[in-house]
């Protein structure tokens, strides 16, 4: 059997996998009965429903004709990588990683890391422009979040302010 709609096929697969995972996981908790539901009852019910629905979606994707095979298309690896990388490095620099004794570098350094890394996800990268943007965003963030809203953020590297 051929896959007639790639998008639907994979959507169905996601539903089946997640649904079964929840249903199986729910067995670790007390299921109970309708009148006295345990913590596993509702997740088990929903998990089974989702997995069944996924099977229907997969079945449909193999039977119902589509015009162009409904391809998932190419994955934008570059933006995917850089956006997530920018996000993660922001987190690491802002809060540090206590488990490996990586110190916190604070908000300002984290912004100067996030903006260029995120900018690499775009079509063109002009270093000067990106640095100006980072500076503007750092200043705005400092003013808006630290000065005006008084959020409790590490602002500067922890080893500098001791």
């Amino acid at each position: 059997m051929n896959i007639k709609s790639q998008k639907d096929f994979f959507s169905g697969l996601v539903f089946v996998v997640v649904g079964s995972a929840y249903a199986l996981g729910a067995n670790n908790y007390k299921i109970g009965e309708a009148a006295r539901m345990g913590p596993g009852y509702f997740p088990l019910l929903l998990g089974i429903l989702l997995a069944l629905l996924g099977i229907v979606v997969i079945f449909k994707s193999m039977v119902v004709e589509t015009m162009d095979g409904d391809k998932v298309g190419s994955i934008a690896w570059k933006p995917l990588f850089f956006i997530i990388a920018a996000n993660l490095s922001f987190g690491v620099l802002l809060g540090g990683l206590p488990s490996i004794k990586f110190p916190s570098f604070g908000l300002i350094v984290a912004i100067y890391a996030l903006v260029p890394i995120a900018a690499l996800a775009g079509d063109e990268f002009k270093l000067k422009e990106v640095l100006i943007l980072a500076t503007i965003l750092a200043a705005t963030s400092y003013f808006a979040f630290i000065y005006a809203l008084k959020l409790q953020f590490p602002v500067w590297p922890s080893f500098l302010i001791g």
Binding site: P43, L46, I84, G91, L114, A119
Partner: protein, 503 residues
Amino acid sequence: MELLNNLSLGFGVAFTPINLMYAFVGCLLGTLIGVLPGIGPLATIAMLLPATYALPPVSALIMLAGIYYGAQYGGSTTAILVNLPGEASSVVTVIDGYQMARKGRAGPALAAAGLGSFFAGCVGTLVLAGFAVPLTEVAFKFGPAEYFALMILGLIGAVVLASGSLLKAFGMILLGLLMGLVGTDVNSGVARFSFDIPELTDGLGFIAVGMGIFGYGEIISNLGKHASERQVFAAKVEGLMPTAQDFKRIVPSILRGTLLGSMLGILPGGGAAMASFGAYTIEKKTKLQPGEVPFGKGNIRGVAAPESANNAASQTSFIPLLTLGIPPNAVMALMVGAMTIHNIQPGPQVMTSNPELFWGLIASMWIGNAMLIILNLPLIGIWIKLLTVPYRWLFPAIVLFCAIGVYSTNNNTFDIWMVGFFGVVGYTFIKLGIEPAPLLLGFILGPMMEENLRRALLLSRGDWSVFVTRGLSASLLAFAALLLIIVLLPSVKRKRAEAFVED
């Protein structure tokens, strides 16, 4: 007149300098993100939620509401001037709006959209004020079975009105409900699906989920498109005033749009996008007057009706939230979050326990609409300039504000990892052609549904027929079934497919 007393209390709250300022900030931001394609009210409200911790609850809600209905105004500007829907709810405005702009009639189109929105917003606010009290009384008659049935109706509504495949929308609801169950079970104290991660025992943060899926997912997908698909060509605007002839034509269509929008807004699962589409369809069905431009070629009614409808709907969709505590769409689901942050349990008791908040919010919407018409018509030049800001400056800023926003919810980097994770999840959904909005609704409703299902069945000693033997609950479920049958009718199914072909 109790209503007048209530409204005067509301205006008393809304007219304080601080609340006026937040209403203005909300409207300004709403217009801003409405004008900018690629960032919607959902992502913006998710981004700003943490920042509202520090504000008094009334001001916070006034600002967030302003963003939502402000975005409906701003979205039309982009639709008319650059042939791109700034918001999902402006998809149909593009059709006739841009054609008018190409004929040099961008001004009247903008004016029709603005005036229509203003009128509809005022009516929507009045409907909200008028319906709130009687509906709240009904709400007190609701038991757990009714609440469960109502949530089923809401979720079915969301499935029916979502774009794309019905089955996949169902899947997203179920997925959302399941995700909502992560964390400590209130009845037994068991931490479910938390993999021994302490942060997960509190459940998944909906800010992290919302921002990841709607913020990051959208950005990655936008950057993956070819540059030419993101190109923006702005039309020129000369003279805002519609002619007398225009006025004669738009008045009835504004009235029709407002009526339809107000009704669809109250419906669970309804919202601005559906209202604007419905209004456009109705206008197309009416006879053209002699000498009138056909639809699709720049008919001013094709701008006025959908823009009125989406604005009316964005006001009335607050009704289920404020009276029943049930969010009818994903944006309202975020408003539930905003209320919970401030220890306000959404539902019928809000009106009695927090009357200043309730009526203050309603009054602020009227003020907000007045601000928006000023922001959007005389100051249109500023927004046109904004359309020329390149995307390569915008998206790093959005990424940054998402990361800062989510960190500030708990001052814990764990939330930043979660945003990253859900960014990948969100992009996956886009690639698989699934609309993620129903997921967020399910996510918010998950714990509420489980709680009410448990209570209903505990009271009925495990008898499932309780949902159909109680009159209110049975009629809600029957309505849900009816909705489902209607969309499954072959003729409606085909129309629906045509309607959403734009996405």
